[in-house]
Each structure stands twice: as C-alpha cells, then as structure tokens.
C-alpha cells in the first residue's frame, strides 16, 4: 500500500487489535473456511480408527481394512496439507499487516515535533521500527487463526468423545483442572528461580568487571584471598540457584508427562472394565485413546498464543507510548488547493518564545522585512538570533505574538506552503548518503514527490546545476570527483579516445613542469603512489582473475610470488599493516571514512582483521592457514607507500618488487600472454582513474598551488575536447558516504547552500551557513547573494563574522532575546551603540 499523501493522524491511539481488523479480511475469511475443513479432517481419522478396529479387524474383513486405512491416510495427509495452507495464510496476513504498521509508524515518526527528536535516540527509533514491532505482526497473523482453530478442534474432539461414551468423556476431562492448577504453580516458582539466577549472574559479572578494573589495588594490597572469598561466595550462590531452577524445570516436565500419561491410564482402567463387561467396544476405546492424546496439542497452542499476545501487547504498548505526539504544524492545508506563492515580506510583531522551564528565548521581538530585502541578524551567542530565524522558518513554535509571511500567520501555515516558499540552510547541514546529485536535488525532489511529479518534470537542467555549484565554489571539487572516476571497459569508447588525445596534448605542453608533481607510469621505477599489486602487474588485466582485487586468490599469481621469493615478505608487510591499523583504531568508537584514508584495511573489514591480529600473536608466519594468509596478502597487495603512511616500504622489498615486475612480465608473456596488457602510452588504462590516464601517472603532492595549476590546464584541455560537461556529470555521481562523511565540512556546507540555491526560494534563511568556509568562499557567496538575489528573494542571514554584513539592507542586533538596534550598517556604526561594540570590541562612547 502506498501511503502517498495519507500520513496517519494520531497513530499512537490505535489499539493492537485494530490492526487485526484492518488486515486483509478477504484472506482472513478464506482462512476461517480452511480452518473449519481442517478441523473436520482431524476428527475423521478418529472415527476411522474405531471402524478399522471394530469392523475391519473385528469382522476380519480385509477389503474394509484396506479401504478404511486408505481413507485414514487420505484424511491425515489432507489435514497436514491444510495446516500448511493455514500457516502460509497466517504468515502472509501477519507480514502484510506488519509492513503496513511499519510504513504508518515511520510516516508518523517523521512528523513528530522537534522537541521529541532532541531527546530521542536514533537507536531506539531503529529498534522500534525493525525488531520491536515484529511480534505485533506475528500476533495479527495468529489473532484469528490460532484461537479459532484450537477452540474448534477442542470442541470437535470433546463432542466426539461425548458421542462415544459420556461417562468416559467426563472422567478424561476431569483430569484437566488439576493439571491447570499444578503446572502453572510450578511454572511460577521456576520463573522466580530463573529471575534469581539472572540477577545473581549479573551481580557476578559486575563483580568480576570491577575487580579487573581495579586490579592494581588488588595487587598493591595483595588482597587475593579476600577477592577469592568474595567471588567464591557468589559462585556458590549461582551454583545453588541453578540447581533449584533446574529442579523446578524438570519437575514441570515430569508433571506434564505424568498428567499426559494419567489420561491413558484412567481410560484403560475404566474403558477396559467397561469393555470386559460388554458395555464398550474396542474400536471406541482405540478412538478414545487417540482423541485423548490429541487433545493436548490444541491446549498447548492456545497457551503459546496467549504468550504471543501478551508479548505483543507489551511491545506494542511501549512503542505507542514512546511515539505519542502530534505534529506541531499542519503538514498540508486543510482544503485541497494549490500552494500559496508568497511575495517575500516577513513581519514579526512582539513575538515571545518560551521553552519548558520558563526560560524565554525571545522576549518581544518585532521586525518588518520587505520583499527582496537582505537582513543580517547579529549578536553574541545566546542572543536569540538563531531562534528567531527558526521561528520564521516554522521550525520553532513561538508562544506569543504574531509572525507572518505575506500576512499569513506562520503558526497556521501548512508545512507544504512553507517548504514551497522558504529555503533554509542550517549551520550544521545534514547530507544524506547517496550521490552528490541526489543531495543537490533533495529539496527539489521533496516538493516534486509531494506534488506527485514524475519523470523529469520540475528537475533543473545540467547547466543550472553547474551554475549552482560554481556559485557556491563546489565546481573544482566536482571536477576532481569526476576525474577520479574510472570507466568500465567497453563503455564510453569515444570518451576514451578523447582522453588519450588530452594525454598527448598535456604532455606536449606541460611535460617538463610535471616532473615534480606527477609520478609517471615508468616501467623502470618503483611507483610509490600505486599499490603493490599495480607495481607487480604493470598493466591492465584482461582476465578477471588478474584484477588487483582478485590476485590474492589467483593460483597462478600465488605460485609466481612463491617462486619469486616474494611471498614471505608480502605476508610480513600485510601483517605489519594489519597490526598497526588495529593498534591505532581498536579503541576508536564508531570510526568513519576519514579514519580509513591511511590504511589499506576497509571499514567493513576491520573487525575481521582485529581478530586476525590476535591470532597472529600466537601463530608463526609460516604456519598460517590459507585463509589468513590470503587476508594478509590482500593488505600487502593494496599497500601504497605514498598514501599509507603507517608502514614504510623497505629498500629490500622495493628492489625485489621491481625485479618481480620484470619476472612477471616474462612469465605472463610465456604462459598467459592474453591475460594482461602492459601499460603503453597509446592505450587507455581501464583500471586507473581518468586523471591518472590523462597524466599517465599519479599526482604525488598535496600542495594546493600545484593542484590548482594542474586543474586549470586540464579544464582548458577538457573544454577543447568538449568533455567538461561529461566529467562534471560523472563528478555529480560521486558517492558522498554515509551521512556525507566522505565530504569535508566545507564541502558539506557548500552542498547544502547549492541545494537551497537550486530551489530559488522566495525567502532564504541562512543560519551561520558559511561559518565553516574559508574567506574566499565566504566572499564569493556574499557576492552571489548581493548580485543575483537582491530584490528577487528576501534574505535573512544569521551572521557571526561581522565583516560580511556591510552590503545588507538592514542589520538587526540582538541581545538576550531582544532586538536592541536595527537599521543600515552605516547608520548603526555612526550611532556607536551595540553594533559598534561588536565590531570594534569595545564601546565607542
């Protein structure tokens, strides 16, 4: 079910059972029908048993025997088949309901007020949506099927027993009440003992932990005996509680067994007596015994179901309580209408904002802004400038006064109208995982999705996107991302040819000066900025088995390095890399992409290698098993001394690897000439990035001046070959990493700015949005705002650095929740009041 525009209201008020009612009723009906049939097929075998014993065996009729046995088999098989159908239907209904619940719950959570998110932990939300709701799904699936099946079965069997012989039926039923009293009582005691066992276990664990943490005290006080005694007492306690608990557990099993077997005992006794006296036939006795045994299962299933429903009730209740809350603002307008287009005027009259605790963040703020005006909000930290900006963007709920956008009261506006007209850039913008392009288009796509636009409708052109990234200063970054992309073999043939031409042009014009900044793919030199694998196999692989990532598993290669005497050294290098990486990162909680820049170990492999390092301490290098050796080899082959500074490349290994390169070329040429194509100036190297192909080498410096110089030349060459836009497109596909952690802080901020610029909102709110940027970028963005936005869009900027506000139409100075001064920059400086003090650090008076 697609939720579309139907975001649920007051979801937390729904009861657990209501989900059963909204589940697939058609399937539930089919389920009921199947259940009734199944129950019938369960009773049938009983009657058949009676007939087999009495008629077929008793009257010695062989053909009847065969017939009744066949029917019996048929009935039993049918019953199993139908049970399968029931289970499938149950699961389907339950999971469908669960999917529905998950979607509605998520939709509800997203609209919760900001105050909820300040206290909530993402972990709790994740577990609520994924694991905690699971037993609700289980319950919904079983809610009708299980009670109905088992109750009907019990009734049917009980009915049949009465039909056979009322006296015996009553006797066998009489046993149940006793079991129902005894067993739960034992269960209660067992649960108590279990709880005690868990508590003692926990106490013991804490005690051990404490002692180990304070081991230096134990050693210096030589309190070994004391600690051992303390520990011994606890261990003995644990020993005792476990025994008690187990005794209760076995007692329950024995009781269950006893009552189960008591039935047949009584039946044989009474039934046998009646049969001997001719009041009861054997067939009926057999049927009776059979039915009696089968009575147990429905009971057990009902008990289990009760447990499931209790668990579901508790989990569900907990979740709904946690997410109790209504959205602070209407999401969509009440009546179905098109969005409002605001003119950009903002009017704040006497607005107060009080938070729980009685603290007033805004104390009667008034401000009028005309369409297209640019206003700067300044003041010390805590003055309320961010708070005011968030009030105007409908994030904060003000408690008194009036704030309007084009005469529409903000509190009454729908979020959709605000989102259509207002663009906000936060001080710490959030960048979602995915491509850079997805992030740049996030705001636009949000509105497109809400309005149901499909295809390319409403999307900005590539030119517009390029303009936006140039305006915020992200262009060279995007270019770099694009140049760092690789082409897959077979794709983009024409682009490949262009790159080769650029390579030649570049070398002709710049070859001389490149020597210091580029490490060329020179056959006779060891390349510090390429991996060991790339150094050994000095070419691109034509067979998958020879790709750098696959070499560690390639038999030919493994034999080669063994013969070339490289294997041991590579394993040692790999071990060293693993050891140092694990040593540095083992205590770092939650390392992100930045922490893995300098190591060949990948983030997802880290725990693997941590374990491997522990093993390495115990095992000698030549005794390693193949799998561990393979892992070490992977690291050694990835090792790039220019990038991975944690281990140095010894002269010895360097020389051997260089020799190895020659040997490998020879060997491959003889044995598998088609497997690898060695680097040649005329060829495109598919395993290398575009920039590496252009330079026919790797950049070996970080110096920004040098990089700038390279960029400029490459840009002009790309333009010559009409390739610039293709590279930018590639750059836009760059994966920014989870939460954008592959972007630097400045890049993230520029992305957020470009994201909002692309939307061209009528009102633009920047909350210290350029704080993380260098001066040049800040100035550039300031210029864009003044040249392109003045008069067209209203700008409200919360500003910390005061050298950027001279061009604004109005400056409002805030202190302790009030606006203390407002006017143009020059006016206020002349007044020598608060603004003067902020700018010059002291009062002019």
């Amino acid at each position: 079910m697609d939720l579309g525009k139907n975001i649920p209201r007051q979801l937390y008020k729904r009861s657990l059972f209501s989900w059963v009612l909204t589940s697939n009723m058609k399937l539930q009906a089919i389920l009921l029908v199947v259940i009734v049939i199944t129950v019938a097929t369960r009773v049938l075998p009983l009657e058949l048993q009676k007939k087999i014993v009495n008629q077929a065996i008793g009257l010695k009729k062989l053909d009847l025997l065969f017939m009744y046995c066949a029917y019996y088999l048929g009935a039993v098989v049918l019953a199993s088949g139908l049970k399968l159908v029931i289970n499938t239907l149950q699961t389907y209904i339950g999971q469908e309901s669960l999917a529905d619940l998950r979607k509605q719950l998520y939709a509800h959570i997203l609209t919760m007020p900001m105050s909820f998110f300040r206290k909530a932990s993402p972990g709790m939300v994740v577990s609520s949506l994924i694991s905690e709701v699971a037993n609700t799904g289980e319950f919904v699936g079983q809610a009708i099927a299980v009670p109905v099946t088992n109750l009907l079965t019990l009734l049917a069997f009980a009915g049949y027993l009465f039909y056979l012989n009322p006296l015996m039926a009553v006797i066998s039923m009489a046993l149940y009440p006793i079991a129902i009293i005894v067993i739960p009582a034992l269960q209660k005691r067992a649960n108590k003992a279990n709880k005690q066992r868990v508590d003692v276990g926990r106490t013991l664990a804490t005690m051990i932990g404490e002692t180990i943490s304070g081991i230096h005290e134990v050693h210096s006080n030589a309190s070994f005996n004391l600690e051992n005694k303390r520990y011994g007492v606890m261990v003995d306690k644990l020993f005792k509680t476990r025994i008690v608990w187990n005794i209760y557990k076995y007692a329950i099993k024995v009781s269950n067994n006893f009552f189960q077997n008591l039935g047949p005992f009584v039946l044989f006794l009474v039934g046998g007596y009646l049969a001997i006296n001719g009041q009861f036939d054997l067939g009926a006795l057999v049927a009776f015994l059979s039915a009696n045994e089968k009575l147990y299962d429905p009971w057990k299933e009902l008990m289990d179901f009760y447990q499931v429903s209790q668990d579901a009730k508790v989990s569900y209740g907990r979740i709904m309580e946690y997410f109790e809350g209504d959205p602070e603002f209407a999401l969509e307008p009440e009546e179905k209408r098109d969005g409002i287009a605001l003119d950009g005027s903002v009017s704040v009259k006497d607005v107060y904002m009080e938070v729980p605790g009685g603290i007033q963040l805004l104390k009667g703020v008034s401000l009028d802004i005309n369409p297209g005006e640019q206003v700067a909000l300044v003041g010390f930290s805590g003055s309320g400038k961010s708070t005011l900006a968030l009030v105007i963007s409908q994030i904060n709920r003000y408690t008194a006064g009036s704030a309007t956008l084009s005469d529409h009261e903000i509190l009454a506006m729908a979020k959709s109208d605000i989102a259509d007209n207002v663009g906000v850039v936060a001080q710490h913008p959030f960048i979602f995982g995915g491509s850079l392009r997805d992030n740049l288009l996030y705001s636009i796509n949000a509105r497109r999705e809400a309005k149901g636009m499909t295809g390319d409708e409403g999307l900005p052109s590539l030119d517009r996107i390029i303009e936006a990234i140039q305006q915020v200063g992200l262009f060279t970054d995007v270019l770099r991302f694009g140049l760092n992309a690789t082409f897959k073999e077979g794709k983009k043939e024409n682009l490949v040819k262009k790159v080769i031409r650029i390579r030649e042009n570049y070398y002709l014009t710049q070859g001389e000066s490149l020597g210091g900044i580029v490490e060329f793919f020179d056959q006779d030199k060891y390349l510090y900025f390429s991996s060991v694998a790339e150094n050994l196999v000095f070419g691109s692989a034509n067979e998958d088995g020879f790709q750098p990532g696959e070499l560690h598993a390639n038999d030919y290669f493994l034999k080669f390095i063994q013969d070339a005497g490289l294997r041991m050294l590579l394993l040692q290098t790999g071990a060293e890399l693993a050891r140092v990486t694990v040593d540095i990162l083992k205590n770092v909680p939650d390392p992100d992409a930045t922490f893995f820049e300098q190591t060949p170990v990948l983030a997802e492999e880290f725990s693997d290698y941590a374990e491997l390092v522990l093993r390495l301490d115990k095992v000698r290098m030549h005794e390693l098993n193949a799998e561990d050796a393979g892992k070490l080899l992977v690291l050694a082959l990835r090792f790039t001394p220019g990038k991975h500074k944690i281990v140095s490349l010894s002269k010895l290994l360097e020389g051997l690897l260089l020799q190895g390169r020659v040997m490998f070329m020879d060997a491959i040429g003889k044995d598998r000439p088609e497997a690898v194509t060695f680097y040649r100036r005329e060829d495109y190297i598919y395993t290398q990035t575009i920039i590496d192909n252009i330079l026919f080498g790797r950049i070996k410096t970080d110096n920004p001046k040098a990089l700038d110089q390279i960029n400029k030349t490459i840009i002009s060459l790309l333009i010559q070959e009409d390739m610039l836009e293709r590279i930018v497109e590639l750059g836009l596909e760059f994966d920014v990493g989870s939460s954008g952690d592959r972007l630097s802080g400045g890049q993230r901020q520029k992305t957020a700015l470009a994201r909002t610029f692309l939307r061209e909102p009528r009102i633009l709110i920047l909350d210290e949005a350029t704080a993380a940027l260098d001066n040049a970028s800040q100035t550039r963005i300031q210029n864009i705002l003044e040249s392109k936005w003045k008069g067209k869009s209203t700008l409200i900027a919360v500003v910390h650095r005061l050298d950027t506000i001279k061009g604004f139409d109005k400056v409002a100075v805030m202190k302790a929740g009030r606006i203390v001064e407002s006017g143009s920059y020059n006016e206020l400086i002349a007044k020598k009041g608060m603004l003067y003090e902020l700018v010059h650090g002291s009062s002019g008076k």
Binding site: T594, P641, G642, K645, S648, K700, D702, N775
Partner: protein
C-alpha cells in the same frame, strides 16, 4: 634539504611514527594518553611549502595547526597596511594549536622563508578525534590555561612596573 615527499617514503621509519614522536613532545598536547596521540598522529599529514609561499594569512580563517619539520618560517603582522616582521623560526616551531579548538582569524601572517616542510593536523580531523575521546579536552584546556599564565607572568616580570605606571589596564589576560 628535500622538500618533496620522497624522503618520507624512503626513510626506514615511516611517517606515522615520525608524526607520533613529534606530537608527543609538543607542550600543547601534554597529558594526552598514548592511544589518542596515535590516532592524531595517524590523522596528521605532511605539507610542503616553497620559499615565499603563504602558510597562514592574518584575518583569514586558519583551520590547522603546523609544526615545522625543516626549513624556516617568518611571522609578520600587518599594522595599518605595513608589514612589520615579528620573528623567524626554524625546525621545531609549532603554531596554530588554538585554531584546532575554535575557528579563528589569526593575528599574524606566517610565510615560508625557505623551502619548508610541516606536519599539519586539520581542525576537522582533530574534532573527529575529540568527539570520540572527549576526555582529552580538559587536558588541552589545561595546557592552554597554563600557557596563558606563564606568558602573563613573564610579561609582568619584564613590563609590570611600566604598564602600571601608564595607567591603562592592558594587563589581566589571565584574569579572564
């Protein structure tokens, strides 16, 4: 003196252990446990500057700290358009520690007088470390505070009487 990064790769000890040795000696990082020092050494990098290159500019956002590994740097202050040289420093000089703690516009311009190679750690990477090991912040603040006190003590000993005679309250940095 080689300014390229070739020397770092060719030397037997790797850049990481060199960085670690340097960081452990810095007064700015006194008291920080070895584990965390290793992480910071790991996240540091080496930057080279040609003679005359700008390392940091007065009033321009500085976002890293620098340690001079070899070469000489000069410090100047722009006073009303004129560049007044303040001093020159060579190997072993560390600056920019405060930039790690907060975005700041430095009061001086620092330039490479000769070809210079520096160890550098960016604020962004330092913040990521700090986020994960918040217990080091009190130690760093302690270093900064004790540095302020030492500085003012020295200043008072040299100029205490003359400043008091002038009447203006320029002293009292450590009273903040």
């Amino acid at each position: 003196m080689s300014s390229s990064t070739d020397q770092a790769e060719n030397s037997q000890s790797c850049a990481f252990s060199n960085n670690l040795d340097i960081l452990r000696e810095l007064p700015f990082f006194t008291g920080i446990p070895l584990d965390v020092m290793k992480v910071m050494a790991y996240l540091s990098s080496t930057e080279s500057f040609a003679a005359g290159d700008l390392i940091c500019a007065q009033s321009e956002n500085l976002d890293s700290c620098y340690f001079v590994k070899c070469g000489e740097i000069e410090i100047v202050r722009d006073i009303q358009g004129e560049e007044i040289p303040i001093g020159r420093h060579g190997e072993g000089f560390f600056f920019g520690g405060l930039a790690l703690l907060s975005p700041s516009a430095p009061l001086f311009t620092v330039r490479a007088a000769t070809d210079v190679e520096c160890l550098t750690l960016s604020r962004e990477k330092f913040s990521k470390t700090l986020e994960r090991f918040p217990e080091i912040l009190p130690k760093i603040l302690q270093s900064v505070v004790s540095h302020i006190f030492k500085w003012e003590e020295k200043y008072l000993q040299k100029n205490g009487k003359t400043c008091a005679a002038n009447g203006s309250m320029e002293l009292g940095l450590s009273l903040f």
